[in-house]
Symmetry: C2
Subunit: 464 residues, 2 copies
């Protein structure tokens, strides 16, 4: 995987040398070759060595390249640059940025820096940013951009192409154009492909697709991502409460949303509170804050298992051999449950399964659980008698003991899989995120129930 | 979230009625209104009620709409349709499909059906499909499509646009065009935006970007997804070993790759073998096959904890109260470890962390672990004395016992976090997928070590 005309590593090396020599003219020339993503990466690397060097390199970028690279940087680097440049330089960067990138920036920067940036922006840009900032976080409104191409249905293909040529330069996408009425209501969509494949004199009204897939400003960004991914779109138009077209969301922004939502799901499934800061950049105290709530809750809820164990203390003392198998039973229960919950959570999040399928899922998981439980029990029975009894010479592992352990195993797996698949679906049903019902919670629940099942069978089979 | 001119649910309802009446003319008319994604969904729903009805509805679609909807269907429905239509109908569907969709189909269908489909295709299509099938699964070659627009650098903008108008109809994207030399080597890239924003007489050689980001046919599809997402591209060109342009991968295919890879990571992290079949469609036996290997492995490796417990049996009998806290200690260790491993695995997969950062990550996790461990230990100490000793009236919970439990807690959390962050990075380093080193494996490891730490402190503090 590489670029055709420059090797990133080599170019960076060369640039570092030039920077050391302060060879301004040649640095400018070399920097021009880099695309904005690589430039941002280079600047971030530079910062690790020397903050001033990064700012210097940034100032040597052309105006346009600077704005593009700036949008690709992470907040700490952006802040550093903002604090090192003049108000007029800052102003021109903000004007060059797409509104959605500028809004992202405002949401991350500390309040005093935001004030300075807003002062540096033109009144129009300021108004636009302010308007966007009002949308709830993770809503379509908060990630949309206002830079789209609007056409009228009485335009001809020729007029439309002329309009695209005139205003297209700054738009996030020119390939999908939106047809609006006089009062800015969305009437249709037409792609550049449609325009190119029709005659110059055809009217937009005859070409446009009136069957537009759109989102509302208040829709969840995840739903917008689903629309783009399901319908293979390049962009989705966003309308306000009065059905007026106010922005668009493009496919490249949606890829970021998908990755963000997946990270959030995985975090929740591991008992971590989701956070906007990527792991590699989170301060230690923030990581602690995100992790300690579930750890505390789960530790305290283990009081249940402890009460069960204390209750059966005397019985256990009579058959001490049973204690040694408790971790295995709990572990198998936890693993079985998290397999089921992960499969169901993912299936719900991809839209393959819906809450109304709960009985279907339950029936499927019960059958899988019986298969898994019986397989595990059989293997374990053989292992208990061959390895534990004969090889490890543990005379306490009698056939009734092995039987108790293996019968328990079957029921523990069934219980774990049933809980693992129903809890996430129940959460979805009552409007919670299914991912919070994942492994840690299910484990605590199955731990307690596993013990109860175990002691019950021990009483029945071993009469303890 | 909705469509402008039809409500999906209503239209489906109406179509069902028309199908019941066998009102062919009106069905055709109504079906035309649906886009291909919705049509596929409708057909899938129909199948659940009545397979013949689905085939009937499919046959009533226009040729083009049929091909599009067919590409959106899942394999079981595709197979059903293939088995119900004539060879000539099948042939025209295959010809209408994009090559990458046709290749996907071939990879999923049973061998005898593949033979029939291949016979129905024209020799050119057959050759193309065969050529694609040779690329390894999950490689760039296996997901690319041959339908791209190629230009020559001596063409003018006018000639280029004329070419796009002539051959653009069937291409997956017309918005990014590739400039190739006489021997099909990739020389540059030019977007329709570039074309529209330049004069009709300008020559491509002066407009094209020679700094092309491309992939090789053998590259992993995940790397291609990263390219598209990092550089915000609509498509990536794919070249063969001789640097000849052989296909492109578009952003909509990449979204599917991203979701697929995320599902795979989550499955692995939950101890499920990854599978190409979505959960909702997997037969019970397949689910069992994907889940039982890790369950078996983890159950058998719990022999370690069991051996530790047996070894300390007599000591435990002297301080029976200690047994009740084993599940809590193991649970907390498991949860702490899976938090660390999930965070690191995700960070590696998003490219935010690299294996060379291992010491940085380790140092960060140790600090988080100390913070978490101490917090948990303090809360637990208070809880042991106030709740367990006073409220639950368990006289065996003395201050030395509480101390043993809480000191163990601190060290268990530290050990779990260290293992949780290093194992995935070590896996990545030696070329394995870090996700296989996730929760289940780390839990088994921390379980055993937790017990050893616990009994060691019990010996030191309680002299058992």
């Amino acid at each position: 995987m590489s670029n055709q005309t420059y090797e990133y590593e080599e170019l960076c090396e060369h640039l570092r040398e030039l920077l050391a020599e302060r060879n301004v003219a040649e640095i400018r020339q070399e920097l021009c070759k880099m695309n904005s993503f690589d430039t941002a990466e280079f600047l971030t690397d530079l910062r690790e060595e020397n903050e001033n060097l990064m700012v210097l390199a940034f100032l040597l970028l052309s105006k346009e390249q600077g704005a593009e690279a700036f949008a690709e940087l992470d907040t700490p680097e952006q802040e550093l640059i903002i604090n090192s440049i003049s108000d007029s330089q800052l102003g021109s960067i903000i004007e060059e940025m797409y509104v959605d990138d500028a809004v992202d920036l405002m949401e991350e920067l500390p309040a005093n820096v935001v004030k300075r940036v807003m002062r540096a922006a033109t009144p129009e840009t300021r108004k636009l940013i302010n308007q966007y900032l009002k949308y709830p976080e993770n809503s379509a409104g908060s990630i949309m951009t206002a830079e789209f191409i609007d056409l009228k249905k009485y335009m001809s293909v020729r007029e439309s192409i002329a309009r695209i040529r005139r205003i297209g330069e700054d738009k996030e996408t020119i390939y999908v154009c939106y047809v609006t009425s006089g009062d800015r209501k969305l009437e249709g969509v037409v792609t550049v492909k449609d325009l190119l494949l029709h005659d110059d004199d055809d009217e937009i009204s005859g070409i446009m697709d009136t069957n537009v897939i759109f989102a509302h400003t208040t829709d969840d960004q995840e739903d917008v991502a689903d629309l783009i991914s399901d319908y293979d779109l390049l962009a989705v138009p966003v309308v306000d409460k009065e059905d007026r077209l106010v922005g668009i969301i493009t496919v490249d922004d949606v890829i970021d949303v998908i990755e963000e939502e997946n990270t959030e799901d995985m975090d929740k499934m591991a008992g971590i509170l989701p956070s906007d800061t990527p792991y590699a950049r989170s301060p230690v105290v923030e990581l602690w804050k995100n992790r300690i709530p579930w750890l505390l809750f789960l530790m305290l809820s283990a009081t249940l298992t402890q009460m069960v164990m204390t209750h059966y203390e005397t019985a256990l003392a009579a058959q001490a051999v049973l204690t040694a198998y408790i971790p295995m039973l709990m572990g198998t229960g936890g693993n079985s449950g998290s397999q089921a919950s992960t499969a169901v959570i993912r299936s719900l999040s991809l839209g393959e399964t819906e809450t109304k399928d709960v009985l279907k899922v339950l029936w499927r998981e019960i059958r899988v659980a019986v298969l898994c439980g019986v397989t595990l029990a059989c293997v374990n029975f053989v292992k208990l008698l061959l390895v534990d009894r004969m090889l490890l010479n543990n005379a306490a592992v009698t056939i009734p003991v092995a039987l108790t352990i293996c019968v328990t195993l079957v029921f523990v797996v069934i219980f774990a899989k049933v809980v693992g698949c129903t809890l996430p679906m129940a959460a979805e049903k009552i409007g919670l995120d299914p991912a919070v019902m994942a492994a840690p919670l299910i484990t605590t629940l199955t731990d307690t129930v596993s013990l109860l099942i175990y002691f019950r069978f021990a009483q029945m089979i071993l009469r303890i």
